[in-house]
Amino acid sequence: MSHADLVGRDGPDGTRTAVPVPASAAQAGRERRRQWPLFRSELLTTFRRWRTLALLGVLAVVPVLVGIAVRIETAGGGSAGGDGGGGPAFISQITNNGLFLVFTSLAATLPFFLPMTVGVIAGDSVAGEANAGTLRYLLVAPAGRTRLLLVKFGSVMVFCLAATLVVAAFALATGALLFPVGEVTLLSGTTVPFSEGLLRALAIALAVAVSLTGLAALGLFISTLTNSGIAAMAATVGLLLMVQIVDTVPQLHAAHPYLFPHYWLSFADLLRDPVYWDELLKNLGLQGLYTAVFGSAAWARFTTRDITA
């Protein structure tokens, strides 16, 4: 006897609500309308928490600090990173074009900051409700286990997008305020108008958000394993750090193409003309794979699990 039956509509057997073909469109419409209130409620609940707002606040501060630091450093006449030295990618270009603060900030936050916030939100998504006991009330409402899990994943994805956009938006505002903006010289040497530069920045933000889906699915899976929100958050973030370290160890390079952060920085390829798609698509595929694997694992676990908290 499986709990999946409880939400038979979504279950793999699909028997209970296997509808005649002509009715399926109307049925799908009704189903969608029933998903929406819970999804809306989930978003409201997530984004009304202090913790969520604090995480977004930290992400907003990073580009402002980077912008100010570059501004101070170059105030003496020097050019930041003009010697081609270290620092995050694109940092040397910021003084010429404030738009590059967007790329710099995303490159600076993507390895740890951004995914850490996602790990916190994803890890807490189910385990936090179990910890508070609210999970049992959602389930007897009855939210449906598959439906609830889909809604949780959807809202973590929305958080990924929101977090990325917060970094990009604050970087753009800071960059425009502290530095000149104008035509953008791409990595391939081509110059494009500022408007196209903005579009490419938006595309990059989306690419970064998509890069985080694999981690989101992993965090959601971990979240279904425990009744402690803190433990799930810590485990997800810990795993992220470990994978990032493994990704830098040359001796383990055979495993690198399968690590979810491996192609994260491929977003820079959107700044080439023509766009260099190879790694971008590999990243997309890898994120899809992680989502499929850990999404299924989360579903298998959550729909059969005893909820005793």
């Binding site: 039956d5 038979g8 819970l38 609210t134 009330y137 007897v140 005893d306």
Partner: protein, 333 residues
């Protein structure tokens, strides 16, 4: 497998069992029948398997054996159809502390796929009104007292018209005033025709509120029936009379003449304590005209017995429990 026998049973379990992963057999072959329209007291000491049974009924955990039907449909398979018609409070309330009382209800209502969002506002207001939380609806739930949290949890169970309310120890942890409030709320809900399944480890609570009861011990069903039937099991429905007097032997003689049986007399600092069983038609003493206790007392005094204390101890469910299991109620574990 047995068909759900009584069509008017809202809960029916057959051989329902649960062994937790720790190897603990928490519920053992439970055959429970809850008649529609009853206020059903699910009584048992802490750890006797009440919450485990409720979790299985609501589809939160899988039974390791046996079957359960709610509202005539198998659980957990039919949960999608059955649960919207059932309101539940399980192991105390659980709330989003950072949301207001009203938004907590909005959230739980949004989780119910059959709840109509267009009527949500009105239904939430009505539920808040019903439990007396309208004034505090805008306060953050973390600022609520335990009694208010408990009432908000009950309000969540009342967001829709329900056929069955499952309330797991709804007065646990409350002060006497809070307990009274919840009990009168439960009575009012039952008067509206909702079947109430109320678990409790408090005997007097079941006696005060319930029409039917089932008694659990160590995961097994000890007995079930109407509260009156179960009370009658203890001492064949008799209450014991206690008289404290310095004139013990006279008291025994007079009481015997008036049909009191099983008389014993014991020495105590206050004199002798004489106890005996009242004739069976004397119960319940408050309602029946039966052997008039005032008259009995007057007879004692007329015969020269100096009465220091005079009283009747009612048979409690605790006596029944002890009689049936040979164990004290509180120590069972």
């Amino acid at each position: 497998m047995a068909e759900p026998s009584a069509a008017d049973a809202v809960i029916e379990t057959r051989g329902l069992s649960k062994r937790y992963r720790g190897g603990q057999l928490a519920v053992d072959g439970l055959d429970l029948t809850v008649p529609r329209g009853s206020v059903f007291g699910f009584l048992g000491p802490n750890g006797s398997g009440k919450t485990t049974t409720i979790r299985m009924l609501l589809g939160l955990i899988d039974a390791t054996d046996g079957s359960a039907h709610m509202l005539g449909e198998p659980m957990p398979q039919a949960g999608k159809h059955v649960l919207p018609r059932v309101g539940a409070l399980i192991e105390g309330p659980a709330l989003y502390g950072f949301l207001s009382g009203r938004d907590n209800l909005n959230r739980y209502d949004a989780a119910d796929p059959v709840a109509d969002p267009r009527t949500r506002r009105a239904r939430v207001d009505a539920a808040l009104e019903r439990v007396g939380l309208s004034a505090a609806a805008g306060k953050k739930a973390k600022a609520y007292s335990l009694g208010m949290k408990q009432r908000l949890g009950i309000a969540a169970a009342l967001l829709q018209p329900r056929e069955l309310l499952v309330l797991d120890e709804p007065t646990n942890g409350l002060d006497p005033q809070g307990m009274r409030e919840i009990r009168s709320l439960v009575r009012a809900l039952a008067e509206d025709g909702t079947t109430v399944f109320l678990s409790s480890h408090l005997l007097d609570e079941i006696e005060q509120v319930c029409s039917h009861t089932a008694v659990m011990n160590h995961g097994r069903l000890v007995t079930q029936g109407t509260v009156a039937e179960i009370s009658a099991l203890g001492h064949a429905g008799r209450s014991r009379l206690t008289v404290t007097t310095p004139d013990g032997s006279d008291a025994v003689r007079v009481l015997k003449e008036h049909g009191v049986t099983d008389l014993t007399a014991e020495e105590s600092p206050d004199g002798e304590v004489v106890t005996g069983e009242l004739p069976v038609h004397g119960l319940p003493e408050a309602e029946s005209p039966g052997p008039d206790l005032a008259g009995l007392n007057a007879s004692l005094v007329r015969s020269g017995v100096r009465v220091r204390a005079f009283g009747v101890t009612k048979v409690s469910l605790e006596d029944v429990f002890v009689a049936l299991t040979g164990e004290g109620f509180d120590v069972a574990r």
